[in-house]
Structures are given as C-alpha cells and as structure tokens.
C-alpha cells in the first residue's frame, strides 16, 4: 500500500498504449410508495427517522415481506434491458456490521437475480452505437444514512458523534451490473457516461424512479482496468464508488485510465481496491482497505419465500412497457425528417421532449426545431440554464408559431413576443395585445410612411424606375424602421413597387 502513485499519464497517450475495460454497477432507488420489505412510506426530505416500522428499524421479532410493486418495477427494468426474467429467485443475507444497516445484514439478491443476460445499445453523441452486455439486475434494500458530527468535513474520522437516519433504510433498489465493457478504446469514458445516461432515461420512461442523480436516486460504481491489447487477459480492476453525475462517470474513467497507465508504465501492479471520486478535481483516492477480505457470509434469506413471477405476469408487464427512449428517438427522427446531425443536436441539447410537445401544439417539426435549437437555445445559453428550465412552454411556442403563420406578426416581432413571455407578461397572444405588436395591415399609415421614404430617397426611386429593382430594399428598410418593424415586409414591398409604378 505504500506505493506512491507515479505522475499521471496523459489520457491520449494512455489509450494509445493500453486498452481500457470498464464495468459499471448502477443502483437505482425505486419510486414505490413503500419500502422493499415493509409498509413504511418513502419520500424524499422527510424528518429523520419518521419513515420507519419495526421492520425497517430491524427491531427484534420483525419480519420482511417483499413489496410486489418493487418486483414489478424490477421486472420492467429487466425487460427494458433485454434480460431474461427468473422463474424463481431468492433473496440472501449479506452480513456485515454497520450502524446504518439496522439488522446488520442487508437483504439482497445474491446468486439468484430477478433479471439476467441482457444488453443495451448505447448511442454516443456522434451517433455511434455501442452494445453493453448486462450480466444481471437484482433487487436489494438501501441502507440508512450516517451523519458524522464534529471533526472535519463530515468524515467519520475525528467526528465527535454520528447520527443515523433510517428513513432510507429499506428503500427498494435495483442494481444493474454490466459484463466487462470492451472495445470502447479511447471512447471508454464516453461510453460509460452514455450508458449511465441511457439507463437514467429508461428509468424515467418506465416510471420506476424519479431517477434524479442529484438526490442519489441513481448511483454508479465504475470499475476500470487496463490491458496491453484487446487480446490480452483482463487486467486488475479498481472500483470507484458512488460516482453520482454523468460528467463524473466520464471523468472517473479518464482519471483511472491515466492513473493506472502510470502505475503499469512504472512496472508496478494495480491494487484491486475500492476508490472514492472527488468532484473538485476529478481525481480518485483509495477507499476502504479490504484487509480481512470482506466475507459477507451470504446465505439464502430464510424469512422470505422465493419470488416466482408467473410467465403470464411477465408477459403482461412486457406488453405494457412504454416505448423506450432509443426506439422513440428513431421513430421521431423518421416522423420529423430531420437530418442525422440535426437530430443528434436535438437529442444532445435535451430538446426532444420540447420539440415533440411543440409539434403536438400545432407547430411543424421544422418550426419547432428552429425555435428550440435557435433563439431559445441562444437564450438558455445566455442564462446558463437548461432549455426545459426556460419560462416558456412548448404550447406557447406552438401558439407563437401560429401567430407568425397567420401573418398577425412577423418573425422579428415574434422575438419581441418571446421577450414578453419570458418576462412573465403572459402568453404570446396576451403579449401581442398588451404591447400592441400586431402587424400593421391597414395600408393608410403604411402609405404615409412609404411616401415619406420615397420622398427622402429620390435617387433610389430613379434607379428602380430605370428597371433596377436591387436598391428597393433600402426603401423597404426605411419603411420598416418608421413603422418600428410592425409592418408586413411583403406588403410593404408590393406597395413600394406599386407607388414607384
């Protein structure tokens, strides 16, 4: 353990000489009303230790009973990941002493997962597809939460005392374990990130979890090893625990590639260990030392009968699975007729749902894309916000586009309407009325402005009369300026040419 880590190898250099192999374990907290094994409610942010029963507190005599909804959610996840669903599977006890585990064992599936042997096609930002093989998805319960008080930075070391909140103890989890992900090469960090993101999207569509990374609904452990070539046997891996954002997943892989490459370059061996990820600088550091090679003394949970989902039930669940994100993207791509690159940009910008809803509100796909990927993307960037967080709804964009299509406002005015909506002045229609932005269609005032413009620029009038229509834009511009942009440019052009005769 006293090996000092040599300086990191630059990432590009590392992946030129080593083949990275990743493995990812993702835990997702299921959004069931009650816990995995008892009737305690589970919701985020409740007062500590108010969401408990004798079961989730591990009181003497209490017994677990499996939450049927959690099983259904686990099967949904398994099916969405193209897994086999076990005909019968048991829970086991994972024995270890820790205050946040009320029984001092975690009830978890061990050698009999509910779902196994699946795969997920993961799409990278440039459209490349990488197939990730799923070894298993199993059910288990979450632990409580320790808070260390006193000492430094909330760490247990040096703390004066610790508090335990058992609200989270017993919250249902599904853990999804990949087989070693090979063949990603230098794109391993991207693949890792895209995989976790794809899972998150699937959890949401399946409606099995809120899947909010920042609340810890989805947590990833990232395994990484290097080998000399894709033909070499797998190298020694490290497991970086609790990497809890997409970006962090990517950074953790990059860091471990660079770190392990340096160790291998120095002729040392990588130590198999768990590591912590540090958000501040993207580095990892050694976690618990597995000194007594943790022996969890797994054995089948005798308090629970096996879970045996009938084939009919599994097929019923399969039949009611919603359209999965990738299939939906492909369908919308076809329906909208966007170019591949356009579609990728839409997906990467997180605008898919917004555009779909805007189309549903009456806009054409092209118009919807133009708004969300153009003007609105620009404003979101200015405000450093997500598109979805802008104070305007797809329905309002649909309404705005209809105002343009009907000729009541023009594109330029539409941007002012957008300002109004974003400023909270109401919907597009209200803003148009309140700000008096409706296109001027009465020719009277327009003709006055045109006559004034013609009078001001006799030379241009001459040129146009002489058959050169090019400079007419200057007249139109002057008219638009005079009418503060409220005139319909097409009509102005018609009238100008008429006047000049």
């Amino acid at each position: 353990m006293s090996i000092t880590t040599p300086a990191l190898v630059a990432y590009d250099d590392a992946v030129r000489r080593y083949d990275p192999v990743i493995g990812i374990e993702v835990h997702v907290e299921l959004g069931t009303r009650t816990k995995m094994f008892c009737a305690a409610e589970q919701s985020f942010g409740a007062e500590p230790n108010t969401q408990t029963t004798p079961v989730s507190l591990g009181l003497p005599g209490a017994l677990p009973v499996v939450n049927g909804t959690a099983v259904e959610y686990a099967i949904r996840i398994g099916l969405a990941l193209n897994c086999q669903i076990a005909e019968s599977c048991r829970f086991a006890r994972k024995n270890y002493f820790y205050p946040d585990v009320p029984k001092n064992f975690q009830t978890s599936q061990y050698d009999e997962p509910i779902a196994f042997d699946g795969w997920l096609d993961v799409e990278l930002e440039d459209g490349t597809v990488h197939r990730v093989e799923i070894e298993r998805a199993h059910m288990e319960e979450d632990a409580g939460k320790n808070t260390h008080v006193g000492g430094s930075a909330g760490r247990i070391h040096g703390a004066e005392y610790s508090l335990v909140d058992y609200n989270r103890a017993g919250v249902p989890l599904v853990e999804i374990v990949t087989r070693p992900i090979t063949g990603a090469g230098e794109r391993a960090p991207e693949v890792a990130r895209a995989y976790v993101q794809a899972l998150r999207d699937i959890f949401r569509v399946l409606d099995v979890s809120e899947a909010r990374m920042e609340r810890g609904n989805v947590r990833a452990d990232v395994n990484l090893s290097l080998r000399a070539t894709p033909e070499s046997p797998l190298g020694t891996r490290t497991e970086t625990k609790n990497v809890n954002s997409f970006r962090s997943v990517e950074r953790a892989v990059r860091y471990e590639v660079s770190r392990q490459a340096a160790i291998l370059d120095a002729g040392e061996t990588v130590i198999q260990e768990t590591r912590h990820f540090h958000e501040e600088d993207g580095s990892t550091s050694p976690g618990r030392v597995k000194s007594d090679a943790e022996d969890y003394r797994y054995f089948p949970e005798p308090d629970l009968v096996p879970v045996a989902p009938s084939r009919e039930w599994v097929e019923e669940i399969r039949a009611t699975l919603p359209e999965l994100p990738q299939a939906r993207r492909r369908r919308l791509h076809d329906e909208w007729g966007f170019a591949d690159a356009e579609m990728r940009d839409v997906v990467n910008a997180g605008a898919l749902d917004l555009i779909e809803a805007t189309v549903a509100a009456g806009a054409t796909p092209a118009a919807a894309r133009k708004w969300w990927m153009g003007e609105l993307a620009r404003r979101a960037k200015q405000e450093e916000a997500e598109l979805a967080d802008l104070a305007i709804t797809p329905a309002q964009i649909g309404e705005l586009q209809q105002l343009v299509d009907s000729g009541r406002i023009n594109d330029k005015i539409a941007r002012q309407v957008l300002d109004g909506v974003l400023a909270g002045e109401g919907g597009p229609e209200e803003v148009v009325v309140a700000r008096g932005l409706e296109v001027v269609s009465d020719d009277g005032p327009l003709l006055e402005a045109i006559d004034a413009a013609l009078a001001a620029q006799p030379d241009i009038v001459e040129k146009v009369r002489g058959g050169n229509q090019g400079p007419v834009g200057a007249i139109i511009g002057a008219v638009m300026k005079a009418t503060k942009g409220q005139a319909d440019a097409k009509r102005v052009r018609e009238l100008v040419l008429e006047r000049i005769g």
């Binding site: 009181l59 006890r93 064992f105």
Partner: protein, 500 residues
C-alpha cells in the same frame, strides 16, 4: 368454591361462560397462585398483573353486556419472553434486551388480546431459546414443579413449569428444535409445535428463522387445540405463513377423545428409540403403543435413516441462521449499550463491548459456530451439506408418511435431569432434542402428550408427528391417547405432582 387454577382452559372457559366465575376472579386466582409458588418455581420473568386484571374486567363487562366473545375470552395465559409484547418487557432471557419495551405486538399476541385473554406475564427461557434446560437464562433457573432440584426442560421451561404448577392454564411456547415438546415431556404437560408456517412468526425474536415455530403449552390436548386455533392461520406480515386455513383442530381433538382410532396407521421410527433412551421412557412408550393398538390403530415400524444425521445438521443450520439473526443486538438502537472502558468509543467497539457483555456463553458459542459455518470456504462443507441432510430428512418423512398417518417416538430420551448436571457438557445437553429436531428440519408438526412416570417418578412424554398441514392428526391421536391413559390412571397425570 372450585379452585379455578385447577381447571383446564376448556373447563375454565365453560365456567366463565356459565357465569359461575368471572374472568377477574380467574385471573386473580392465577396471580395469587403465581405469588404463592413462583418464588420456588421461577417460571415468570415479568408478571403483568394490572393489565391482566384490566383485560379480565373488560371481558367480564362485555360478557355482562351480552357481547359475543371468543370461546377462550377471559381465560388467562402466559407468554414466553421471546414473543414481543407492546408495553411489556421482552428480553428473550437475555441481558442484552434488559429494559427494552417493544413498541409493537407479535401477531399471535394481537390475536390473544383481541380474543380477550388476560396475559399473566412473560415466562423464563434459555437465552434466545438456546438450550434444553432453561439454565441458560440470564435471569436465573426455572425449577421443575415435579422436583424443584431438576430442570423444567428448555428452552421454554418457564411456560411449561407455569402450566404444570397451575400458575396458568395456557401458555405460549416456541419450538426451534424441541423447545415446546421437550419441556412438555419433562413437566407432564402438553406441548405442540405446529406445521412450519402455521402460526405467524411476526414478533417472535428469531433464533433460526427456518425452524422457529410458536405453539401452545397446556395441560390437555383439547386446550392446545383451542389455543392453536386462536393463534394460528395466515398472517400477511410473515412471508412464510401458510395461506390456507388451518384444518379443524378442536373438532379433531373432540373426535379423538372418543377413543376410536380404527384404520389409523401409526409408524414407530426405528431411529428414535433404543440406545440413549431411559428404560422407563421406553417402557411407557411401549405401553402407550399398546393403548393405541387397543383403540384400533395399526402400529408398524418405519425406518428414517437420515434422522441419524439430524442433530448434526441442526447444529449447523440453527447456529448459522442465529448468528445472522442475532447480529442486530449491537447497542445501537435498543436494549443494552456498553461502551468500552479503554480506548476509543467507536461504533464498532461499542458493538463488540455490548455483545461481549450482553450475550451469555451458549449464545456466544452458537454465534461463533454459525459464523464459522457460513464463512467463505466453509459454506459448502458445513451449511451446504447440512441443507442436503435436511432434504434427505424431508424425503425420509415423505416416504414414512406414504405408509403411515402419524409417526411416534418418545419425546425426550430421559426425564428431567438435576439442575447443573449438563450445564458444562453442551453435547449431552444437545442430545435431549435428538427426537424432536427432525420435525423442525422438515417443517412437520409434532405434539408431546404426557404418558406416565418413569421409574424415577418423573413424567415422560409421547411424541406424535404428522405431515405438514395435517396438524389435526396430532389432536385426534393425542386426545385418544390422553383419554386412554387417563382412564387407566383414573385422573390426570399432573394430579400426582407434589404439592408446592
């Protein structure tokens, strides 16, 4: 006036229903009896007098108001301290739970309360139900009412002694390897281990989850049937609870008491007799077989060869499960908490100090055994092999029940031994359960019926085993044997127990 403590539960229930005595009178009579004799017997760890009398008064009032009551309403009961009772101490005989007052009731306690049975108190037991003599209680020995210098059996010695000493007409026991039946045998009482899953385990402080089962401790077979029907039946809070309704047990007991066993095939298990069994125990056993034959049963011998390995398998499976079940006793949330006097006070060290101080030797022995049996590299050889033996035992039972309706054996190999005799010899202690353990490993039900006194003047028991979910057969055969025995004796066996 009748001594209410001498009545069986069924008789007392009839007396209450007829208005010849009130539940308050019955409850007070038992509390008085406890006050008079429990100093010698020490069956109770906690006497619940006020609450019991309040329940009794409530039942009396409801009866006076003409309310329809459960048949056992108003009949007092004692509950083994391994069963959690809201508002009442529940120590499981361990220092580690001293002072803990559970915030909830076990399902069977809920049912007892709902039926209006006054709970007299909590009975003594081997710590966490680990033992066959109640000497492993952290709260002192219980004495056998037949001879105060002898053990009352275990782990449920308190419940058996309370019933034998007329301190309670009914009691709840739990049976993981014989803890209801063996105390029944050595105290001259009836004890039933129901089919696994027949009585909810919710609220039983677990020793070995796949073996534990709660059941009745009474003085008559009919009383056991009455209590069994009250506490049994499906409970959604216990995943291993049997969904189907219980077979009619009281009816079976009444039927059996008529004494006709024509057509019944009784199997004598070769492996559960002979060497290691006291001559007096065997003599009573064979006399009882003759009575069954006289009642019309056909007695055959059946061999269950895997039973020879039952004790060994049991002492791997039980400690393995116990080592995990007992992990929760760590001083973090409830019960005893001991901080180390030297060095830092970390959670891990508090857990170690608490467990070191709170557990007795027998508990530690089994936790160590079980931890070892589950360890990586040993799991297959120990726990895995034991589970295979368990399967073989289940097959032996299946084969035997294909040829017979019930299996029989002596309940325990010997009568009650003197206190202290086997305390330092765990193996000799474990051998007490050699005849009762197979039923737990297979999940089948068993009853022990007192069938006389051995040459030493102490009671012995006759064990009847039936296939899973056929608990009614225990009551039919048990009641038939009981009635045949009592007609030869002229009075219940317990009437021959010395006055306390």
């Amino acid at each position: 006036m009748t001594d209410l403590t001498r009545l069986s539960a069924a008789e007392l229930a009839a007396t209450l229903a007829a208005g010849e005595a009130s539940s308050v009178e019955a409850t007070r009579a038992h509390l008085d009896r406890i006050a008079a004799v429990d100093g010698d017997v020490h069956a109770f760890l906690h006497v619940n007098d006020e609450d019991a009398l309040a329940t009794a008064a409530d039942v009396d009032a409801r009866r006076a108001a003409g309310e329809e009551l459960h048949p056992l309403a108003g009949v007092p009961i004692a509950v083994k301290d391994v069963v959690v009772t809201q508002g009442m101490p529940s120590t499981a005989g361990s220092k580690i739970l001293e002072g803990w007052i559970p915030p909830y009731d076990a399902t069977l306690v809920e049912r007892i309360r709902a039926a209006g049975l006054p709970i007299l108190g909590k009975t003594n037991m081997d710590e966490f139900a680990m033992g066959s003599s109640t000497e492993h209680s952290a709260y002192g020995n219980t004495h056998n009412p037949w001879d105060l210098d002898r053990i009352p059996g275990g782990s449920g010695g308190g419940s058996a002694a309370a019933v034998a000493a007329f301190e309670a007409p009914l009691a709840i026991g739990t049976d993981t390897g014989g803890s209801i039946r063996q105390p029944g045998a050595v105290t001259g009482t009836v004890g039933v281990k129901p089919t696994y899953g027949g009585v909810s385990r919710y609220g039983l402080i677990a020793m070995a989850s796949s073996l534990d089962q709660a059941g009745p401790v009474t003085r008559t077979v009919l009383d056991s049937a009455l209590l069994h029907e009250l506490i049994g039946g499906h409970d959604p809070r216990d995943s291993t609870s049997i969904p189907e309704p219980l077979p009619p047990l009281v009816e079976a007991a009444r039927q059996g008491a008529l004494g006709d066993l024509s057509g019944l095939r009784v199997g004598v298990v070769t492996q559960l007799q002979g060497e290691g069994y006291q001559p007096g125990v065997l003599a009573r056993f064979h006399e009882s077989l003759e009575l069954l034959t006289k009642a019309g049963a056909e007695v055959v011998e059946v061999s269950c060869p895997s039973f020879d390995y039952a004790l060994a398998a049991y002492y791997l499976i039980m400690p393995a499960e116990a080592s995990s079940n007992l992990a929760k006793f760590d001083g973090m949330r409830f019960g005893l908490r001991v901080e180390p006097t030297d060095g830092p006070v970390t959670a891990e060290r508090v857990m170690a100090a608490t467990r070191g101080a709170g557990f007795g030797d027998e508990v530690k022995r089994r936790v160590v055994l079980g931890t070892y049996a589950l360890s990586a590299g040993y799991y297959d050889a120990y726990y895995g092999s034991a589970q295979k033996v368990r399967t073989l035992i289940q097959r032996d039972f299946a084969a035997a029940f294909a040829k017979t309706d019930v299996l029989v054996s002596p309940t325990a190999p010997t009568t009650a031994f003197p206190l202290g005799e086997k305390l330092d010899d765990p193996l000799a202690m474990y051998l007490n359960d050699v005849a009762t353990i197979p039923a737990n490993l297979a999940g089948v039900p068993g009853i022990s019926v007192p069938n006389g006194l051995s040459d030493d003047g102490l009671p012995v028991g006759f064990q009847i085993l039936a296939p899973a979910k056929a608990d009614d057969r225990l009551y039919r055969v048990g009641a038939a044997l009981e009635s045949a025995l009592e007609s030869t004796w002229g009075a219940p066996l317990l009437s021959r127990a010395p006055e306390l």
